[in-house]
């Protein structure tokens, strides 16, 4: 590769064009361009045809790892490309969605149509839980008065598992997950459910006759 080599034939030229669609200028100048510059120089310095090919492959693999990792490791700037903003979304929510979809596609050969059922069931449960908590805001996770919209989060400590629809969904979901994933333990789960039911009745009877002296909001155990 000499000075007469056209720029468009250099390794990484098209990758840089592609990266400009995804990343904003700060990310291009601090991450992408240095990576491609090192790739180009490594290919130029490599001895022989096989060496140059090997350097290209190593560089391309590293570049794609970088493209996958960078959005999660580098914050979105206000001047980000529309595609970057679309991929990441607010608080990385869209990136999480992309990750979930990719996971579903990759695991399709193992789980098949179960993934569709899980997605539909999960969406339904999410909507029901969201509606429930919109009407019954959690007492343990106070809203941020400075926030203009509710913060999206999964906070197990703010889910009162003891006695409402959320708790029922949580328990049923957890049991079903284990039951479907490890069917060999079904008898153990059945025994646990019976034992748990007996224990719950006992605790309920005890609480009825011995009211708690500590504020329920201060302890998960006493809720």
């Amino acid at each position: 590769m000499t000075a007469s080599t056209p720029q468009h034939r250099l390794p990484g030229h098209r990758l840089l064009t592609l990266a400009r669609l995804v990343f904003d200028e700060p990310a291009i100048s601090t991450i992408i361009r240095p990576a491609l510059a090192d790739l180009q120089r490594e290919v130029q310095d490599a001895p022989g045809r096989a060496g140059r090919l090997s350097a290209r492959v190593r560089g391309y693999v590293a570049f794609w790892k970088l493209v996958v990792a960078a959005p999660f490791m580098f914050p979105v700037s206000p001047t980000a490309r529309p595609l970057t903003t679309l991929l990441l979304g607010a608080s990385g929510g869209n990136a999480l969605l992309v990750f979930v979809v990719a996971l579903a596609v990759v695991s399709w050969p193992m789980f098949g149509s179960f993934i569709v059922a899980a997605a539909i069931g999960g969406a339904f449960v999410a909507v029901v839980l969201r509606r429930w908590y919109t009407r019954h805001p959690s007492a343990l996770a106070p809203d941020n008065p400075m926030a203009s919209r509710p913060k999206a989060e999964i906070n197990l400590s703010s889910i009162p598992v003891a006695g409402d629809i959320g708790g029922l969904f949580f328990v049923v979901g957890a049991v079903m997950t284990v039951l479907l994933g490890v069917p060999a333990v079904r008898w153990f789960i059945l025994g646990s459910m019976i034992g748990g039911f007996v224990l719950a009745v006992g605790v309920f009877a005890w609480r009825s006759s011995h009211p708690a002296k500590v504020s329920a909001a201060s302890s998960i155990l006493l809720r």
């Binding site: 990484g12 601090t30 510059a37 693999v61």
Partner: protein, 100 residues
């Protein structure tokens, strides 16, 4: 009170290499790290360290007739060197406790 700047192991290694052999470019850091740094993530780490003020970078001067993108060379900043010294001192002070 301002919090003390954190220095994860990979950033410490990069500062160590830069303090002793700067300027270096990304692939040189990967080669000198003996496998501790990966070329797929080293540039993100370098970008983060530059944002924290631990290092600075500049494009190398392209020789006449050369083609391609100019490489980015990295240097430790005075802050980066002080942070590295502080962390090295703390590590030495805590060696007995860290070994137990």
């Amino acid at each position: 009170m301002e919090s003390i700047p954190s220095l994860p192991p990979k950033e410490r290694l990069i500062l160590d290499l830069l303090v002793s052999e700067a300027p270096l470019f990304g692939l040189q850091l990967v080669a000198l790290s003996g496998g501790a740094l990966k070329r797929g993530t080293v540039y993100v780490t370098l970008g983060r360290m530059e944002a924290k003020g631990f290092l600075r970078s500049e494009q190398e001067a392209i020789p006449p007739g050369a083609i391609g993108l100019p490489r980015r060379m990295y240097y430790p900043t005075p802050l980066g060197q002080r942070v590295l010294r502080a962390w090295s001192l703390m590590a030495r002070e805590l060696v007995p406790e860290m070994q137990t």
